[in-house]
Symmetry: none
Subunit: 194 residues, 4 copies
Amino acid sequence: MDLIMDDRKRDTKLPAILRAALELFTEKGIHATTTKDIARRAGVSEGALYRHYQSKQELAEDLYITHLSYFTAQLDRTVLPHARFSARLEALVDGCFRFFDEDRTLFTYLILSEHNELGRTSKRVRHLRHLVRDILTDGRASGDVREGDLELFGALVIGAIIRVAIFRIYGLLQGDLRGRSKDVAEACLRAVGK
Amino acid sequence: MDLIMDDRKRDTKLPAILRAALELFTEKGIHATTTKDIARRAGVSEGALYRHYQSKQELAEDLYITHLSYFTAQLDRTVLPHARFSARLEALVDGCFRFFDEDRTLFTYLILSEHNELGRTSKRVRHLRHLVRDILTDGRASGDVREGDLELFGALVIGAIIRVAIFRIYGLLQGDLRGRSKDVAEACLRAVGK
Amino acid sequence: MDLIMDDRKRDTKLPAILRAALELFTEKGIHATTTKDIARRAGVSEGALYRHYQSKQELAEDLYITHLSYFTAQLDRTVLPHARFSARLEALVDGCFRFFDEDRTLFTYLILSEHNELGRTSKRVRHLRHLVRDILTDGRASGDVREGDLELFGALVIGAIIRVAIFRIYGLLQGDLRGRSKDVAEACLRAVGK
Amino acid sequence: MDLIMDDRKRDTKLPAILRAALELFTEKGIHATTTKDIARRAGVSEGALYRHYQSKQELAEDLYITHLSYFTAQLDRTVLPHARFSARLEALVDGCFRFFDEDRTLFTYLILSEHNELGRTSKRVRHLRHLVRDILTDGRASGDVREGDLELFGALVIGAIIRVAIFRIYGLLQGDLRGRSKDVAEACLRAVGK
DNA sequence: TATGAATGAGGCTTCATTCAT
DNA sequence: GATGAATGAAGCCTCATTCAT
């Protein structure tokens, strides 16, 4: 997947910088990634980073906020049109897994990393978690979700998605994740559905 | 929970160092924690760290390996004596949640942190994941686990445990986790059981 | 003498760093010289050293290898064209003493310091010792060197040159050394010649 | 050769400390040798060093002054009784070389190291150089030394002795040096004698 | 005497950031 | 926009020395 870049993309080395930064932040964490690392991988001078961002931190946060917003918006559009709870659940899992298959690095940065390293700002973006909560709330209203703490159910669903992705990264699972969407969605349905 | 210390603990500032390091590594990550941070919180000089460990990295790895080994051994002893699959599942979840309630920081360091920052060595320790795999394998043999990829089921179970703990840390869930052991274990049973 | 610098010298603080390092290494030894010492004398920040060299050790080795190579090459060109043994001996001594008079610090670093502190690499450079051996071997062939162990004779010749320079540094001898070239060369000739 | 220790030697670990320190100072230089190095090689705790010396520096200086005094006194007693210049020269060279053969490490520490690292105090001890000067002055008086700067001649003689020893250490010469005393003394005689 | 944990200063090196070109 | 040398702060680690035992 191409990283988002509004229109200032032209001529610039920004794309290379963004991709390099994303990869490194994902591989080693933000703190452990140096500006020199980024510059080298992007094939740019160190100074060049500061043409686009005021600091490494800003780069990391912008990368997070911009793409997470984009991803969740897209996921909302994919999932919410479905009427039935089970269909939504499957669309959710499938949306995540397809994204993972397409750009594992970006998915890891946005969803798998816990990001204690990112500032407060980054916590104000709509997250996977919010969509799941919406789905479950609707599901409860429609009688598709069994009795029990909805927040806990949310943890189970998100835990399933995330841990499956992590297992894929560790090589404990193989192949594209999208092939597993149905299985995972079904397991979630068993866990929280009536 | 007291951090483990063989017998060399006497009169030494090692316990203070270990606890300070654990807290900081958990709060900010290994890389973002400075030796000065550790020293200050432990109330010792920076040099004191190096009487006990050769490097910050070694301290982090030793902390991980020693305590994870201890935890998994204890968990094995708690879980495996149970004969039935469902009982094992509940003992597993309960063991994790009790540990979380008792020493959230240590649980976070050992289980919740993904630890890309730890060296290869640290990957050779028996982990939660291995116990879960054993339980599922036995459960399949005894006919208690339904058809489907066992590794995937493992991801679901571990995902549930871990994500519930993370939700607790984020404040999305409240109170002691041990009160939720039954619910979580039941959800897992629904997801993977017959 | 200007320290050698290929062409990257421009606008850089490298020359100042090299001269400061050379002086300090010579005065106090490599180990006893701190990077802060070098930076202060060169009028730069400590970090600046690391733009040009990866470590203090590398700086010391590069300084040694580059300039020793240059000096011995020059000495070869000065000495070897002479046909007669006695003329070569005098050219050798004179070449060394002129170098000493011109840049005592550099001569001291290259020739007088024993440099247990330099790594193996630095031992692979052609040294004064090799030129002396060549001169003596030719002298033996031409019948100008008397019977006796050539290697031992080499030690005598080099010992004379080096110890005279050291006496000059200690103030036991005064004035330019070049005025003593003839006397020293003659003494060497008496010692090893027929 | 046993290191000197007055009478406080008894029971103590001082001998081990002195030998370890001497070896290390000679191998790596005083500055590069750490108190931990010394303690480890001596098989002693670090604190133990301070039972005998107030500082590392004092240990290094004491080692130097005590043994150099002892050595030069002994050399005086060996050399000066000889009446003739040539005999004195040979006794000098032979005394040095025998010492070298017996305890190369100590000889290196006392005579071969330039010791920029030792304080002023250490420069007040009678040194090889002074004995050589005495021999040459007498030789001039007795008409055995030819015309020329006596200090320069001193440099040549000392240069010969020292450089031969250094060549032996570097492996450029082999075997015991005492077998070379006559050759070296003769070369010196040729260089400075009538 | 001896031990070895602890200290405080300082050493080498790295880093995010700036700035002259 | 881009470069890369330079900076100042900080990071990790080592060292000589002290001190309680």
